[in-house]
Symmetry: C2
Subunit: 274 residues, 2 copies
């Protein structure tokens, strides 16, 4: 999906919601366990309940890999089920030396080889430009560079409290030279408005993928106020607060209501730019 | 596998060779293509030809993921085929926030859930201690922290040429506080003897996993002279120079000869410590 197509979807749906399919078989409603592939059944119900309210789905690969070969099958069925006009993200945090990153690019972008044709992949930048560039060789696919997170360990390397330029800032400055606002985004998680607006100034045009609203303590209003640009420029990912909003056989209703609530709030913020 | 079991294997086999199963279906001998799972057939032949010469196999997950669900099946068959007394490494460079890293730990260590029971997993430290600690909760499993590589991009963040403490050094200093020499190793690739001996001084007891000898320009003698400790403390990974040493129907003979050559050289270096 191209940048202009993504922006068109945001305008159309009045939403910049990304729903995170971090599906844990131990947390899904019990009536689904009878199905051959309960994880896929759950995801299918979530997608049906929310596909008009969100512009992206993010699949956290760890949750699928934790079930081995079977989990990869559930991931494939899920990806195949997502409508083509919705942006798809493999949240896989991959990255390695060039020839290995080429293989990861095939794994997530080259449907003819791997069966998976995601629009975007999250990438860990630790190994530098030649670990990221193989992903940028694909037309209409996106690299989402891991920049800043808000977990406790983020202070270890990304954003140490000492003086000097923090690593996440070096990452954003350097990596924006490898791609452009049409094939690169950044993962940013922060509860600090100063940091969000600082990153927005560093990359005025790039989309930011912002997980961690809700469950990880982020705040939608703060992020919209400090992170939005003239094209929106934000994908806000919500996982647990939406997908586990319901428990019983009619869980989709609560899931839809939760997604709707986020979309209604986003509509307000979009009103100021579109 | 425990540290003392690994050292016992190194003494017994007079080898610290790790063979990298970076198996690319486009590079394997053509007569194998007729099999239902050519990647597994190739790996099986490699393992049969080398299992008495090496102490570890490293599976580069990217090469398997590039073939999707089918690739994960080949990876499972391969892991199941490796004898129990050989150390197994998933070279997957994983790492994410805590609950996601827990899922990756299940994926690679918890055979009852995922079907995969590797001894060790390579982990990307970018997100800090809570992204690594879930892997350290498993008894007898190992985290191999990505520290220093020698690809061009390594100068971007890990080891910038400017002044100050390079990131890889901060990573080694901090992360050795999270685990110990019995459950943590470091990935180190360098052609610089000063860097290898500097890292050895930082972590005198830890094993170092050293890929990149041969194909990536490393030098076995230099690494042994600068990186060995009293327990050996090294796993040297060779991939392409061994697994693609032969081309025809009898490729295993050339593969074995290539592995033997590395083992004979290692025997000399081990002679000085055991």
């Amino acid at each position: 999906m191209t940048r202009s197509e993504l922006i068109a979807q945001i305008r159309l749906k009045k939403s910049f919601l990304c729903i995170g399919l971090d599906t844990d078989i131990e947390k899904i409603p019990s009536h689904l366990i009878q199905y051959e592939d309960p994880v896929f059944e759950f995801n299918k119900d979530i997608i049906n309940a929310t596909k008009d309210l969100c512009v992206a789905y993010k699949i956290n690969t760890a949750f699928y890999e934790s079930r081995g070969v079977q989990g990869w099958e559930s991931m494939k069925r899920t990806l195949d089920y997502i409508p083509a006009d919705i942006f798809t993200i493999a949240d896989a945090k991959r990255g390695d030396i060039g020839n290995t990153s080429e293989m990861y690019a095939r794994a997530f972008f080259d449907k003819s080889r791997s069966g998976f044709g995601f629009d975007a992949l999250t990438v860990n930048p630790y190994m530098g430009h030649d670990s990221v560039s193989p992903f940028l060789q694909y037309q209409n696919n996106w690299v989402i560079v891991l920049a800043l997170t808000s977990n406790k360990g983020s202070a270890d390397f990304q954003n140490p409290l000492e003086n000097g330029q923090p690593l996440f800032e070096t990452v954003i400055k350097k990596s924006q030279q490898w791609g452009n606002a049409g094939n690169m985004m950044f993962v940013v998680v922060s509860t600090n408005p100063m940091l969000i607006s600082k990153i927005r100034r560093l990359v005025p045009d790039h989309f930011l993928l912002i997980p961690g609203i809700g469950a990880q303590g982020g705040d939608l209003k703060m992020v919209a106020e400090n992170g939005m640009n003239k094209d929106c420029g934000l994908l806000i990912n919500i996982s647990r607060n939406i997908i586990y909003a319901g428990k019983g056989e009619k869980f989709e209703k609560e899931v839809r209501a939760a997604a709707m609530e986020y979309r209604e709030e986003m509509k307000k913020y979009l009103h100021s730019i579109f």
